[in-house]
Amino acid sequence: MEDIQEILEDFLVEAFELIDQIDQDLVELESNPEDLELLNRIFRVAHTVKGSSSFLNFDVLTKLTHHMEDVLNKARRAELSITPDVMDVVLESIDMMKALLHGIKDYGNDVDVGIDIEDICNRLIAISEGDEIPTTPSESKAKEETKEEVKEETKQEDEVDVSKLSDDEVEAEIERLLKARKEEDRKRKEAKKQEEPAATSKQASTPKDLAPKAPAPRANQDSTPAKKGAGAVEQTIRVEVKRLDDLMNLIGELVLGKNRLIKIYDDVEERYEGEQFLEELNQVVSSISIVTTDLQIAVMKTRMLPIAKVFNKFPRMVRDLSRELGKAIELEISGEETELDKSIVEEIGDPLVHIIRNSCDHGVEDPEAREMANKPEKGLIELKAYNEGNHIVIEITDDGKGLDADTLRVKALEKGMISEREADAMSDKEAYGLIFKPGFSMAKQVTNVSGRGVGMDVVRTNIEKLNGIIDVDSEFGKGTVIKLKIPLTLAIIQSLLVGAQEEYYAIPLASVLETVRVPVDDIYTIDGKNVLRLRDEVLSLVRLSDVFGVKQVFEGGDTTYVVIIGLAESKLGVIVDTLVGQEEIVIKSMGEYLQGIEGIAGATIRGDGRVTLIIDVAALMEMAKEIKVDIKASINDGTSSKTKPSDYKVLVVDDSKMDRNIMMKSMEPLGVTPIEATNGVEALNIMKSGEHNIDAVLIDIEMPRMDGYTLAGEIRKYSKYKNLPLIAVTSRTSKSDRLRGVEVGMTEYITKPYSPEYLESVVRKNLKLPE
């Protein structure tokens, strides 16, 4: 019963808003009676209120607004001029409408308030019928009559009128259907009540379709005290979406700040281990991080809407479709209270419409076919939503004829979408995926319901846009299950951070199926494509650095990391050089200038303040098809090109000219090329510029501006220098100094004074030069 209360509340909030608007508009209209825009707006208000109130069974209100609509409709078609007399009546009817709405708010229905609308209705009818055009009076009656008659009438009128009339036509049809449905349902309900009284509560919690809701308000309102209804209405505030978006952006900033704070704390902890203030800092950092997370959840929640907003329109759609197609189909909805971010709720509607239409048209069979297959005459479509971790899953199940993988393969072959070889290699699941290809349709003929091969392609694009995954499963003859897995929110997402050479990228975790570490030998090349055999699947492989043209600065080892990404129904293995970890990231746009860069969905700012790009998985998959690099060959190819000792460059970092000279003298017999730097900052700049390809570094510890330890630490931050020999040459000899050297990543530790031969041999050893 709660959902009815909710709908009622929504209706009232909306209606009062509309009425505020209509008052202003009407006043303006009186002074400006020719303004069509204004008239249209007022007409729409009456129309909307009428639609909603008839849905909620407020017959009195419906009747009133219906007559208002008639008058206004004529006015906006210039068949009736708005004279002050007419205006008086219209205004009076608006007041009446307001009174009725207040009545609904207070009593929960439009009868108890005791307003008689007969008089005003008659006057409205008089206005509308006292018209010069003789054909129109029948129009209002026609609405109550059948659809066909209205159609006939409209044919005689011009095109604009047809489009306008069809509004009413639809309206009339809704009314008629609802009434019929109500009757039907009331009967069924009564029958059910008698049979199994216990079942009613169950039915209430999982409403089977729209119809049980329609008669409900009465029953509900009768039992609910009037006060409660009124109180509940005032407990909600309507807030502009923009404000919520702004709030969400601010929270995004806060999350980034939090990430940064945690990172800084880690650094500080390392440096000042055991200090008193660390504990305090830790407390502050963790409490801020908890509050930020809570705040983020709270704000996210304000943006959440129950998926019922989308689901609610389907019962009618299925009903109409089943009538149109001559099939008996029942729609069962569950989990409509599951909540989703507003932006996603808006996007999810279209794909669901297409899927359900498809299920009705292609899934569920004709009654005869169903009988032959020993199935109940009535087909069943289940629409289910539930949470799964950070995702919401929407499941659409039908008990229809299911998908036949073989027929799909043949059809795709006929249309030239796949080659014969591909068809043979295709698993059943992959074959089901074919239905999402643009232009693919299994329908023998194009109906106005489906069969153009567009719908499912739309589904795929929309779901991909939401970073969602589609999973199709089917059993021939038994039915089909389509599962949509969609992230809860779009602004802040979980991501997997990966490294490609020196660059880092974030992959939306929703698209990551798994990560594996594989030996290079397991990569095969078939038809110029790189593939990986993983368990019983064969996956295409691509190197991230090839897709994004990352500068190759170091070679990988014998094994490599593969991130398996999946989107909608396809999969791809992406080779990366490092896996950094999972992180919560905030998606930021790269601005107008860099919008829509292929393969990049946006950017985020990491804890260290750097910008990391977020991969657009759908685009990446497309781009991967164009990449033709023999991965295995290029990995094995990476042998060193250094042939003579002078190709080796050794960076000598010391602030004393004499010390540098001693070191260089000692290395002279080796024949390597020395490069000098007088302090850490200078050395780091030389390394960063990439001008020289440094093979080893000799580092003094005591230096101005940046000391040797810091320098070593900085150098080690670059993954291409992970294995670069760093040799400390220093007069600091204590054990703790040596340990510090090891900690920051020094490879060797030479204490001054040293013999030239010793230095020479250490350098030789580290450069792997022959004796």
């Binding site: 660059e503 994004f548 990352v550 930021k588 601005g591 107008e592 860099l594 860069i597 750097r610 910008v611």
Partner: protein, 165 residues
């Protein structure tokens, strides 16, 4: 009372219908900078801020003059190398290099320049339109400012900020 109101309204309307009556005497405020060896200037009002070079992240599949994006206090801003954009000699970045963050109608970007020179005030009547022959820059030049001892290429920020790939 009514008369006075009318007077004011009339005055306002007059101002509206006869704009820039004094534009020849108007002064334009510019910021001058060096790219490679050439001096350029842009209107001061288009500058959001000028910062020292910071780390940036490369963006794939863009022309080489788009260096990437950088983090400006939580905003992700594109970074464009004017030397490459103008096909000038790309030497090493000097100590004086700066990022000028320029903002236009609805986009914003940082531009790498070699050195700032000075803030310049120049009368509008001393600015000539760009020579017709400079076609290849497609309106990137707003005009040529004549100064006592030199001439100044004034850039049009809107077209600098327009994506042309």
């Amino acid at each position: 009372m009514e008369d006075r109101l009318n007077k004011i309204i009339n005055k306002q309307q007059k101002q509206l219908s006869e704009p820039d009556i004094k534009s020849t005497e108007e002064v334009m405020q510019l910021v001058g900078f060096i790219v490679s060896d050439e001096e350029y200037a842009i209107p001061m009002l288009n500058i959001q801020e000028i910062i020292k070079p910071i780390e940036y992240t490369r963006v794939p599949s863009v022309p080489d003059y788009v260096l990437g994006v950088f983090n400006l206090r939580g905003n992700v801003i594109p970074l464009i190398d004017l030397r490459r954009k103008f096909s000038l000699d790309v030497s090493k970045q000097s100590e004086d290099a700066r990022y000028i963050v320029m903002k236009g109608q609805n986009s914003i970007a940082g531009f790498v320049i070699d050195r700032l020179t000075e803030a310049i005030r120049i009368r509008k009547d001393r600015i000539d339109p760009a020579p017709e022959t400079l076609h290849k820059d497609k309106g990137m030049i707003y005009g040529i400012g004549k100064r006592d001892d030199s001439i100044l290429t004034i850039l049009r920020v809107e077209s600098l900020l327009k994506r042309d790939f």
